[in-house]
Amino acid sequence: MQKLLAIVLTLAMLGSLCATAAAEDKVTIGWTSWALAEEKLIPVYGGSADAFMADNPDITIDYSQSNPYASYLDQLLTAASAGNAPYVAHIKAEWLPQFLELGVLKDIRPYLSDDVVSDYSAAAIAGATVDGQLVAMPWFGNTYALYYNKALLAQAGIDALPQTWAELIEDAYKVSALGDDIYGLAIPNSNGVEAGEGYNVFPALWAHGGEYQDADGKISLANEAGIATFTELQKLIVDKVSPTVGNSFKDLRNLFGQGKIGFYWDLEATIPTAAAAAADQDQFYKDFGCMVIPGADTANGSGYIITHYLVVFNNCPDEIMPQVARFLEYMSGPKVIQIFKDGKQGKMSSRASVMAEVFQDVSETTAVYVQAMETARPLPVAGLHFMDADKEIVKALTRLAQGEDVTAVMTDCQTTIQEMYDEE
């Protein structure tokens, strides 16, 4: 009996060794995204990795390490600088300069197929290329479209959608005249509680012919177009056509859901959030409409696009880079973008073949976002201090809401941002 037990144990031990050897043949790639820390997004983001593993049984994607959005960047920068970050990470385009500053990103171009790279728009590849190295894989883009409340527009006597920026402002005033607690056009400003709100004014700036930076790369918020834009924004706030300081995007979604906002721009994925704040969701969807943000003299103006990247850190061994490249190509391919589309995430690809394959047959709302992609502009995120500049724009909006002189405020704002950029 003892001998039998000894043989069984020996066989079990040998078996486990063989299993370990087999497991070692399987490559494991660590991958992280803040979305993996959000329960309702796991089916989409985790599901994408699961789909990859199902199609590539020789590779395991370990997506167990994730941090919520609020602490994600800090944690990832710390881990990357210490050389123990997951091999692949999901980042936003505006964070790229910080990782470049750390010097922790791998050049992925040698590992990607030419077919995939050439499938991308030239602008998408150029945005992720630094000193001739492709330091990030453009994954998807979030673009913005203008939500509107059909019921409020009808009450305000607006029977045709605005075709230009000036018409939009005119209609916003008509809507806000419906009541003290009704806003015509909402622009978020949580006073810095939430990040990334300053650049939300760019569609207004572009509609006035302005630019964040001029051809020489100098900050140009205090020129004629900038002053005209911010004078208009100040007037909207002072006239109570737009909410004053204290409303984040989340607040605006609630207000829109409650039927208190005529127009504001937001992402496709946030429509259900706004609907959740409505007393009657069916009625919300009946009243809901969206259109491309109008420009100076065109209905097809420009919203902005927030590009999301997948980056590979230097701690990833070169030996497994072919497998990592397979993962990157798969994630930016049609199957994963289809998963995002089915999950109503509103993510669009910069790859022509993916857009053609996935977005052939779409809903009326998605069609607007696809159309918005055609004119959407990338954020000018190249500077290390872009996010600091964003905070300065938010501060300027708060000062404008307090009634300060537009030229003085914008000159201060421009000087401060320029000094930050000059420090780099």
Binding site: D74, L77, S81, Q98, E101, L102, G103, V104, D180, D181, S190, N191, G192, V193, E194, K240, P243, T244, V245, G246, N247, D251, N254, L255, K260, L384, H385, M387, D388, K391, V394, K395, T398, R399, A401, Q402, T416
Partner: protein, 332 residues
Amino acid sequence: MEAKRAKVVNRLTPRQQSDSWFGFALVVPALLVLLIVIALPILKGIYVSFFSYKLKNVGGALFNLSPDQLASIFRGDADLSSLSNLKWNDLANYISLFKRGEVLHYFRNTLVFVAFTVSIQLVLGMVIALLLNSKIRACGLYRGFMLIPWTIPSVVVAILWRWMLHQDFGVINYIAYALGISQQVNVSWQVSDGLAMASIVLASVWRQLPYMMVMLLAGLQSVDGSLEEASRIDGANGWNTFTHVILPSIRPVLFTSVWIAVMNNFQSYTIIANMNGTGASTMTLSIAAYQEAFKSYNFGKGAAIGVMWLVLLFMVTLVTNRMNERCANDYQ
């Protein structure tokens, strides 16, 4: 002769000396821990505040020493300035803070916030403590209720008050409008500097009031009843008894409570950041230091704010201690 005698009296016996060494040895581990977790980080903070210390410097340690460099240090022929991956920047961190007047703005906001928060909670805490110290019915129940805000995490308090004061959803705006205090229903508590500061003071006082109340109540309960009785017999009214008997009796508790409250509020971050974010009107030293160091990743400038903050607190501590000593002497 006296000196010689004193010398003889003060000399420790071998047993006492051994005990003394043993006692010191027992304290050493604690001292080492304090040195590592408190003294070294403070020294490093002061050190990096004089250098350009940004993300690109984080990749390596503060001093990256190769074996060759280490050997050259021991030989005494090393160029010490080349050993650090930090670059001396001619006090640029401090200059930039003063150049734009930023630091004065942060100091002013911090002092206003601390002064209002501590004084309001002191006055209210004293009133409530006096009420709870009197023989009122269901005193224990009230005391229990009063403690509730203290048990709520700061971040929850911040979000709670942010919603209550929200421009469009806030119950306080609604009540103010319904009572005719405000002429408009959607007042933004963040657009005006005064209202923004008032909102964070309000939330902080609400959160910290139970602490002050409990401390003062403990002090009041230790006051000798015969002193109060004697003052009444001598014809003192309630106010005189309070100012001349009760306050001096609880002075040590009062000083300690106020001092702890001042320190806590100087470091206050959670409520301010979650209510008003990086709004200029409520940008205190703690918010500014965090923003610079961990949002803009300018660790040198963040450390410079921290150093000035340290100096301010050090000076306030000296003044307070001196005042406390003087008052203690007056009382004796």
